[in-house]
């Protein structure tokens, strides 16, 4: 054990000179790596990772990644009308917006790191940890942080701003560390699309450790869309750390389709009263895939509302995990927190784990949670088949109905093509349709 730890520290020291940032940053990296090595990767002993065996992915990034020397990649089309940042894991982050208006600051994390003390405020936001965070992946991310997007929406911004953050994973088994920083100044709004794909659609076995830090000012409104459709057997752990100012509204819609193991964490903390938090996600698993949605909503102020709905559809031996924790701190009166998870198993071998947790230390709060796991309703299947639909078609139609309410804008009726693909609704509908089309072609099993 000590051997592998000291080797890890050695590897880290070899790589450190290639990482962006001043001595100050490198000192932070060093401390983060020490904390990480003390604790190690999360495993079965960690309650929050009990059903999600991360195993031992390659944690040290390759030099190509660190040096940002990889060849540029041809990004898939950006969303219509969106500002974009593309980050390929090997190439440096690239801002895809020729002109930036006054109300939008769009840059790269590498430049924030290089500016050192000149960007002190941004650095402290970039490195802040949620109080609930216990595991060590955030430390590992700090140690090896290479690049990502910096995004600040200033007052005066119009209401329909969309920013598309595209992360392309290279083929192979690289370790990829990205971090985005998103700041919404008071009263502004933004649709943020985080989109994980593979470079040129190739299969990848990468280990991704991605962190997005999101700060919502007073009355700000953020719609955060996360889509992961990475082919291959990648291990993908992404975290959203959210600080919600007074009367701000944070909406998350997550779709996990790809990878061998994929987890999305949302840790949301109120920093003022009257916050609204709406978290929804869908996992679609097949083969041996494991998809995990982890949420922690911390109501530390009065009058907050949170709503959570997470669903999974599981084929073959796939698994889904939902850990949803709601924490209501003393004094956070009048909080209304609702949470639910539903899973449909399409095979006897599929497994859904659901663990809702409520911790309430305040009076006068409303909380509810519920979880269901089951098969598709047989009476409904008979009804649809009696109208001429095959078993596969009937299943696909019922699943469409099941998943639609956790997707942004619902599910398009048909597969989006051409220009229609460039809407956020289409971005979610595409992978879901491809998944369901496969189901609809299956004959009786």
């Amino acid at each position: 054990m000590f051997d592998s730890l000291s080797r890890s520290m050695e590897s880290f020291h070899e790589l450190l000179p290639y990482l962006p940032g001043s001595t100050l940053i490198h000192a932070s990296r060093q401390r983060a790596m020490e904390r990480f090595l003390t604790r190690g990767l999360p495993g079965r002993r960690d309650e929050d990772w009990k059903n999600t065996p991360l195993g031992s992915p390659p944690i040290h990034p390759g030099l190509a990644f660190l040096a940002g020397e990889g060849s540029a990649w041809r990004e898939p089309p950006m969303l219509a009308g969106a500002f974009g940042v593309a980050f390929s894991g090997t190439a440096a982050a690239r801002v895809l917006a020729p002109e930036q208006p006054d109300w939008l600051e769009l840059g790269t994390i590498a430049s924030v790191l290089e500016q050192g003390s000149h960007s002190h405020d941004l650095l402290s936001l970039l490195l802040q940890r949620p109080s609930s965070l216990e595991d060590s992946l955030d430390d590992l991310n700090t140690a090896y942080l290479r690049d990502g997007a910096l995004l600040r929406v200033r007052s005066g911004a119009p209401e329909n701003v969309v920013v598309h953050l595209l992360t392309g994973l290279p083929p192979g088994r690289d370790a990829i560390y990205g971090r985005h920083l998103v700041v919404l100044e008071p009263g502004t709004s933004l649709t943020l699309v985080e989109h994980l794909v593979s470079v040129d659609g190739a299969e990848t076995g990468a280990f991704v450790n991605g962190v997005t830090k999101l700060y919502l000012g007073h009355g700000a409104n953020l719609e955060h869309l996360f889509v992961q459709e990475v082919p291959g057997d990648a291990s993908l752990v992404n975290s959203a750390h959210v600080w919600q100012g007074t009367e701000s509204s944070y909406t998350l819609r997550s779709l996990l389709v790809g990878g061998a193991l994929a987890r999305l964490e949302a840790r949301v903390q109120s920093s003022g009263p009257g916050t609204i938090t709406d978290l929804r996600g869908l996992a679609m698993g097949r083969g041996q895939q494991l998809h995990d949605h982890f949420t922690l909503v911390e109501h530390a102020h009065e009058g907050g509302k949170s709503f959570q709905s997470f669903k999974s559809v599981l084929e073959h031996q796939s698994r889904s995990v939902f850990n949803g924790k709601v924490l209501i701190e003393p004094g956070a009166t009048g909080v209304d927190a609702r949470q639910g998870s539903r899973s449909v198993l399409l095979s006897d071998m599929a497994t859904a784990h659901s663990r809702p947790q409520l911790e309430i230390y305040a009076d006068d709060v409303k909380c509810s949670h519920g979880a269901t796991v089951g098969e598709l309703d047989q009476d409904a299947m008979f009804y649809l088949r009696s109208r001429g639909l095959s078993t596969g078609q009937a299943r696909a139609l019922m699943l469409r109905a099941f998943v639609a309410d956790v997707l942004p804008g619902g599910l398009l009726e048909t597969v989006p093509r051409g220009e229609d693909m460039q809407s956020t609704t289409a971005l979610f509908s595409g992978p879901v349709h491809r998944w369901l089309e496969r189901i609809s072609k299956q004959e009786d099993s």
């Binding site: 409904a380 009696s386 109208r387 001429g388 078993t391 009937a394 109905a401 639609a404 309410d405």
Partner: protein
Amino acid sequence: MSVDNWKTPTSPSVGSSGKEPIMLSIRNLHVSVEGDEILRGLNLEVGPGQVHAIMGPNGSGKSTLANVIAGHGDYLVTGGSITYLGRNLLEMPVEERAREGVFLSFQYPVEIPGLSTAQFMRSALNSVLQARGEAPVDAFDFMERAGRHLDLLEMDRSFLSRSLNEGFSGGEKKRNEVFQMAMLEPKLAVLDETDSGLDIDSLRIVARGVQALRTPRRSMIVITHYQRLLDHLVPDFTHVLAHGRIIRSGGRELVRQVEERGYGWLLEELPASAPAGA
């Protein structure tokens, strides 16, 4: 009287061409549900274009018959046969029966939240059209076809965008069943208590809708408790089902006799051994 081997006064040559097969021929059908024998030697023949009414007390096996024809997996056929247009119906999967023209109007239509009626109906119609070798309909064609039938059933266009049967009143659900039947243009329609739970106005609309779908070629089996649907939809033949078999058959006059006298007199006429099954 010989009830066991009674057949409708129909022969395979009844149709206009003189050579077409019987639409539906059920012989000595035995069916169990969860180990209980519900149908005990049922015989029925239905010719093209005929409307057969099936009446009978609760628990006599009426809905079982409807579900077995449609192919519900909970109903186990333990003996006998069903031949549909010369084919063994019991060997056909549920969807194949539908594609070949068998339609069941459900007594309790299933609610599917999140699935729009339009999307469901268009998918179903296209499956059936494909099986018939016809081109699928696009959204525009679909709306045109659907519109005609909705008008007849006095249903608003907004039906199509609502989730399938979710929050529908009893009358709306039954109208939706008849709407689906109109869209799919079946050869053989089985209406399982399509009149139950309807008020007078809904009943009139539903009955008129079904009556409009009556053609010289399309056969119907109308399962009902009451005379009132049959006032609008006059059957060619009437059967009384009790204890899992047909105990009396006749013409439309049998409907009135049952309405006036109930089922008791028919049950009393049964041979003592009959209820136990043959």
